[in-house]
């Protein structure tokens, strides 16, 4: 059974090959050396062709304006991703990562996932990348280190990445990958299981005992009705995925305790008398100090 016709197969192979060579040429040298400008130019050209070859596989939304935004965000995200891994300055890498995150949240917005878009921007662009920038800037006070300028195993790494991309594209466009109306949903929610006629065996036992009325969404969505984004998300999280939420909360709590345990300053082996006596502020900030 063939999942893809030969045209798709050739296109995907071309994307993988062009992207591999292009990104390998664009990546920094293995020992942090400088490549010639021609290598960068050829690499940029090949990567750009690979990025353009991906575009036919995207399914744009119907509206003209939405389509315009969709293609801009997609191109920006792809270019940002390539530039993020190939930039030689880690600060620029972090900024290109921010571009990727912002473009992806633009795509989320176009797909109607408003909360996901806002959450991505707040968490990734607003907090995580800013922390990256802090660390990179403070670590760079004496110029760029060799480990920042060199790429580790560029040939194998770019091949692996592009093969993964090829596998993803083929999995997405393969016939049967998109669900039709009559097909059963691939992911069951608790509500969906509860609505099914009672089956025999363990599923019936679990659904009969574990489910109460609170573990269902208030009512199914009508056709053409916009879902209440945050309210709907909250309802799903605290009914269908209640256990997951609690486990994740516990995990975060454990991580928090661990962070506090690691970050609390230990009592110094030999007390530093010079600073403890000179400034009044340091006496209060070091309560564990041996006096």
């Amino acid at each position: 059974m063939t999942l893809l016709d030969s045209r798709d197969l050739a296109l995907i192979a071309a994307i993988v090959a062009l992207g591999w060579v292009g990104i390998w040429l664009l990546l920094p040298h293995r020992h942090g050396g400088v490549k010639t400008a021609r290598a960068y130019r050829v690499g940029a050209l090949l990567s750009a062709i690979a990025v353009l070859l991906v575009l036919p596989y995207l399914t744009p939304p119907g509206d003209l304006l939405a389509r315009l935004f969709f293609y801009s965000f997609s191109l920006l995200a792809l270019l940002g991703a390539v530039l993020m891994i190939t930039a030689r300055n880690p600060v620029n890498s972090a900024l290109w990562f921010a571009v990727v995150v912002l473009s992806s949240s633009g795509l989320f917005l176009l797909a109607g996932a408003q909360f996901l878009a806002a959450g991505t921007v707040i968490v990734y662009a607003g907090a995580i990348i800013v922390t990256f920038l802090f660390v990179i800037m403070l670590a760079q006070s004496h110029g760029q280190a060799i480990y920042d300028r060199s790429a580790r195993r560029p040939l194998a790494a770019s091949l692996t990445g592009m093969l993964l991309l090829g596998a993803l594209i083929s999995a997405i466009i393969a016939p049967g990958a998109t669900r039709k109306d009559g097909d059963p949903a691939p992911i069951y929610s608790v509500g969906a299981i509860a609505d099914q006629p009672p089956a025999d065996g363990p599923i019936a036992a679990v659904t009969a005992q574990a489910l109460t009325e609170t573990s269902r969404l208030p009512r199914p969505l009508e056709q053409g009705e916009t879902p209440a984004h945050v309210a709907g998300l909250g309802a799903t999280l605290f009914t269908d995925h209640l256990l997951t939420v609690q486990v994740v909360g516990l995990l975060l709590f454990v991580a928090l305790i661990g962070a506090v345990a690691i970050a609390t300053p230990k009592a110094p082996i030999r007390p530093d008398r010079s600073t403890a006596s000179s400034s009044p502020g340091s006496a209060t900030t070091n309560p564990g100090g041996v006096s």
Partner: protein, 354 residues
């Protein structure tokens, strides 16, 4: 989306951007006048009657001055930073209603005209916070790209401050969000209008007084206004993250800061002072006269808030850096969490009453 809808949106964008950029020019004049009044001076009075043409002279000066780019800066990031500052300050207005929007919007031929650039965005407040969290890039990049120790220190201080104060800012808003059961700013306003005890409206400042205080303090820190303007402490940092910037690039940082003040004033008024809510106006008035009145009321309240923010500048001295961080992490965040829990419990107990 029909063509007329796009046209209406474009008109609103041009109107809002133009109006607020013009307002910023006069806010600078207002700030200087209030500073002069606080210091017993006269203030700018040379350009036009009462100095009213001073903003034009300032703007011309900003645009016509020589734009010096020092040789040692990281040029792409150096140019990017002020652009980020002004873009982030401007697009934050997209979901802020400046009049009746949503249910009580006035109609033309049965089509509602919302006084809001992007109406019916479910996540209004989250969007404002997302944009606000991006504004930190301007400061951190400005400090880094300048390649100057003082600028870098200013940038670091400021980004740590903004990241820290975002937490109490977000937590303090959640109380109002839970009461109104919506993240949309229109719904928060109409909730404040619909509820209340007799003549006393259910403004956020009455139902969530602690949250209001926390929000106000955090908002001052987010906008870098004076008790928290460590990033540009002239005495220690020669100006802070914008030391190396001149002419309009400096002006763009300046403009961004004042636009932030306007955004924060709008948020405060909408969340805690009822927005367009006045004793004679309600959510059920959907005529055009009521709409104009509501716009007037909201702009009046915002003006008062802006004047209050400028007045505070000459009232409180600047914080020290450790005091700043202690205030956020040891005082405001626990208080905001307490407020959140108490609000939750009360809502759960009195469910169905309000």
């Amino acid at each position: 989306m029909a063509t007329w809808q796009i046209a209406v949106i474009l008109v609103k964008i041009f109107l809002i951007v133009g109006l607020f950029q013009g307002a910023v020019a006069y806010m600078i004049l207002l700030e200087r006048k209030i500073a002069a009044w606080a210091q017993d001076r006269i203030g700018p009075n040379r350009c036009g009657p009462l100095g009213l043409l001073q903003p034009l002279a300032d703007g011309a000066k900003m645009l016509l001055k020589e734009d010096v780019i020092p040789g040692y800066v990281n040029k792409p990031l150096y140019i990017l930073a002020p652009a980020i500052a002004i873009v982030m300050a401007t697009i934050g207005f997209a979901v802020v209603p400046f009049g009746p929007a949503g249910l009580d919007a006035p109609t033309v031929n049965g089509n509602p005209i919302h006084f809001q650039i992007a109406p019916n965005v479910d996540i209004g407040i989250l969007y404002v916070f997302a944009i606000g969290s991006l504004a930190v890039y301007a400061v951190i990049l400005g400090g880094y790209a300048s390649n100057n120790k003082y600028s870098f220190l200013g940038g670091l201080r400021n980004s740590a401050q903004i990241i820290s104060y975002e937490i109490p800012l977000g937590l303090s808003v959640l109380g109002m969000v839970m009461l109104a059961r919506s993240l949309e700013l229109n719904d928060v306003m109409s909730w404040q209008d619909r509820n209340g005890l007799g003549p006393i409206p259910a403004w956020g400042v009455f139902v969530q007084p602690l949250a209001f205080l926390i929000f106000l303090v955090s908002a001052f820190a987010e906008t870098n206004r004076l008790p928290f303007d460590l990033a540009e402490a002239e005495q220690e940092l020669v100006g802070g993250f914008h030391t190396e910037y001149s002419a309009m690039k400096f002006g763009m940082f300046f403009l961004g800061e004042y636009l932030h003040v306007i955004t924060v004033s709008f948020l405060t008024v909408i969340l805690f002072f009822g927005g367009w809510d006045a004793p004679f106006l309600g959510v059920e008035d959907t005529s055009w006269i009521a709409a104009v009145l509501k716009v007037g009321v909201i702009f009046f309240k915002v003006t008062l808030m802006v004047i209050f923010i400028m007045w505070i500048r000459w009232t409180l001295p600047r914080f020290r850096y450790d005091q700043l961080m202690n205030l956020a992490w040891k005082a405001l965040i626990p208080l905001a969490l307490l407020n959140l829990v108490v609000t939750m419990v009360l809502i759960q107990l009195f469910r169905g009453v309000g």
